[in-house]
Symmetry: D2
Subunit: 277 residues, 4 copies
Amino acid sequence: MCRWLAYSGSPILIEELLYKPKHSLVDQSLHSKLGAETTNGDGFGIGWYGVGETPGVFHSIEPAWNDRNLRNLAAHLEAPVVFAHIRASSGSPVQETNCHPFCHGRWLWMHNGLIRDFTKVKRDLALAVDPELYPEIEGSTDSELFFYLALTLGLEDDPPGAVERAVGLIEATGKRHGVEHPMQMTVATSDGEQVWAFRYSSEGRSRSLFYSTDVRTLRAQYPDAPVLQLVSDESRLVVSEPLGDLQGAWNEVPESSWGVIREGQDDLQPFKPRAPS
Amino acid sequence: MCRWLAYSGSPILIEELLYKPKHSLVDQSLHSKLGAETTNGDGFGIGWYGVGETPGVFHSIEPAWNDRNLRNLAAHLEAPVVFAHIRASSGSPVQETNCHPFCHGRWLWMHNGLIRDFTKVKRDLALAVDPELYPEIEGSTDSELFFYLALTLGLEDDPPGAVERAVGLIEATGKRHGVEHPMQMTVATSDGEQVWAFRYSSEGRSRSLFYSTDVRTLRAQYPDAPVLQLVSDESRLVVSEPLGDLQGAWNEVPESSWGVIREGQDDLQPFKPRAPS
Amino acid sequence: MCRWLAYSGSPILIEELLYKPKHSLVDQSLHSKLGAETTNGDGFGIGWYGVGETPGVFHSIEPAWNDRNLRNLAAHLEAPVVFAHIRASSGSPVQETNCHPFCHGRWLWMHNGLIRDFTKVKRDLALAVDPELYPEIEGSTDSELFFYLALTLGLEDDPPGAVERAVGLIEATGKRHGVEHPMQMTVATSDGEQVWAFRYSSEGRSRSLFYSTDVRTLRAQYPDAPVLQLVSDESRLVVSEPLGDLQGAWNEVPESSWGVIREGQDDLQPFKPRAPS
Amino acid sequence: MCRWLAYSGSPILIEELLYKPKHSLVDQSLHSKLGAETTNGDGFGIGWYGVGETPGVFHSIEPAWNDRNLRNLAAHLEAPVVFAHIRASSGSPVQETNCHPFCHGRWLWMHNGLIRDFTKVKRDLALAVDPELYPEIEGSTDSELFFYLALTLGLEDDPPGAVERAVGLIEATGKRHGVEHPMQMTVATSDGEQVWAFRYSSEGRSRSLFYSTDVRTLRAQYPDAPVLQLVSDESRLVVSEPLGDLQGAWNEVPESSWGVIREGQDDLQPFKPRAPS
């Protein structure tokens, strides 16, 4: 449905992530190889942490491949944590408020996949959002509503637990409405310090997700690759589909799992939806 | 907040309504005289009944004054019932799904004014929408939600009654949340056969609304005005503020009243919100 | 680079042309089979002759596949001559003034292909435009400049001759700047009465172009196809790539040729660029 | 026609310039006091020098007042030299390639005013542009063509001289076509090190232009104004109309003059168009 990329590491010019690699995310907007759709032209967005308390966000309803503002901003923005998302709408309108990453306070959120039969469950899920948060929902996507459910269920305190609870609630709601496989997702979220990534689907056949091999290992393997000299040891990318053409640079995130990228040791854990009691 | 125009009569080229008159609606997008805002540049929309079962609708997030598609469509579309609306956002995003007129089946709806403290009451009002209709809400405005409340409360069978019930509900909900004057509105709605117009506000000081004097009377008064020869006896305009410069051409719609334009006798009645029981 | 469709015949609802057929032009915006690019998402345009002296035109910088205004207009506009074009930019910006069909007076023009090494020859070609017409050029494409060269060289009096002269001029200019194959094109133009279509390239391997088989022949072959009952005997489509799935419905326009569609006998002739003397 | 702002000084968050002051540039997009038009809603642009060799540029066809991307970028971009421009079109289309500031290499350029009877002189002026530069012209405004004339006539080596020669050429060309007062302008241009500002019109009644009083003087006058503590001694603003409400903070740029802002001593000189020989 969509493709995304999350970077955490030493500050990097966004164009190094979005334009420079072979089969970059911007290339994928025209020609995705692993996506459910080959074209992801229904708007895009980037988010980054830099100047200011909250992350910067730029959303556009144009396709990414020819967008001059994106190209220009990418060449002039540098950040240690970058989110980028290209959208293939599964039905909701192409408008900036439906573009990822969504932002709430310090938090960014982006999603590839869908809540199946969303029109059947939308109202019940909207009711489950904290009434204080409800008026902040601006768009009409399943992805943004999912974000507000996660916020309602504790995202800011316990991201993995909150996403497990949100997915449990969505699955329970879907089942009540006769939806066989309510959830299909890869998700990234961040508070600017850490990045969490999730891969899960009710049917156990989730959208593709990859994380980059440790930079030190790659450097030893490719002593002549200049980009590997640019970034710090702890820099890491999580992507819907591999960029570039370095053998061994990418590892698949296993089915039904989540991981966290942060200074020090990364972590990869099983993802288990928690049904509401 | 906005300005609008509703026409019913013999088929007319839309540019005759939107561009030709002095102080036309397109002029008002830059320089409104009577509006709460002088500039109404946050998108626009037109709706018309012609070819096809449902009305045609064109929405844009550009200001009307320089929009080439609007100018071109207006010069090439002719219709017996035309709605046009220019928007000054009271906070919700400028996106096509927030542009009036809203459309549901054969029905068009447009609104000037606001539901006050909308963020306080939005969730309660959304819950009051028929769950079957709820997933069809595409934007985030008070005006569209008001339309869906009216549809829920019988708009298609009894437009004046449904709008009175919707306003009663909105006022009751607002009062419950401590809002002093929950409703400010002029509204037009149509099924393509008749056009209903409403003027009301909780505080009894409603946005301006005018209807055109009977064409036969005007023709007698201005035998040399060409536009008056073009249109049928029963043609009628309802507008947020007067167009053109014919003395006596416009009558103010009284406070707290509604009217209907149709073949035969028009009708003007008091508007009385009906609180939910 | 682009895909287009030209219709001439009995008045038809535009959605019958753009949305209803299998592999419709709107489908081709996402997944073209024969185009130089599989995705044609850099804006689109339609033109039609109906109400008013000049043709109606609607341009948008959004991809066609998800554009709600296009879908809505297509369902509410009926015309005897319809042009539609989906764009894959060969470099110039995605903006409405670069969307086809271009319009001048009663004339519409659309182009698939390119003037090669356009930056090398742009200035010389711009100088060759009639100084009276020069200020009317609004965009920055090779296609619009080509239109103004054809207008300069007599398009309104002798369309095939003017296009042959324009291409002769473009080829001579290109050669002077060392361009090997200056011209690649399929073109459609109309004054609302007749439609002319052209297929040519300097290298003799032109972009694909097809015209529909005579409706009477098709009706005899497919007595149960409802769309064939809808349209008049003389209705005709010219398209970049075939729509629908009727065997025998499409004929390739030969290399280096032009044709005209009009009431009575159509005509197909060789296309021979005429170099400036 | 337009309004603009140029800042040079210690690095500042762009929102401090665009949103925070009373009667800020974004306020002026809705309600200009001194402009030829009260509404400047036909697109906007910002340019800044920061990361990278060339300035960053962001252009939009939306009105500035409600643009969420502008608000978000302004809150997350910090730079020592900032240009911002809000547009009221004098006829050319509202598209990103017509938004200021224009960029060429390290140079930014923005203009308020117009080349009068532009359609009469456009072709002659286009011919005067260096043929190497000609293909880089992307939009259709008088302002961008003016920039390319200045570049042709030596902007990068001698900005004041090049602008004097460009204006001389424009005036001579206009006169030849019978235009009484060919030029009306305020202009800002920068290479990232210095900012040049110009005020001139053929008729000697130029659009308004102001520069800020020396920060040290202001600080002494307003010891409690926090913004004056934020910026360095040499920070300076040039604006189409005054921001804020500090008495004595603004000085009018005299008729027919230019100035340069740089480290060390600023400079103010008479502006004298130089006719082509």
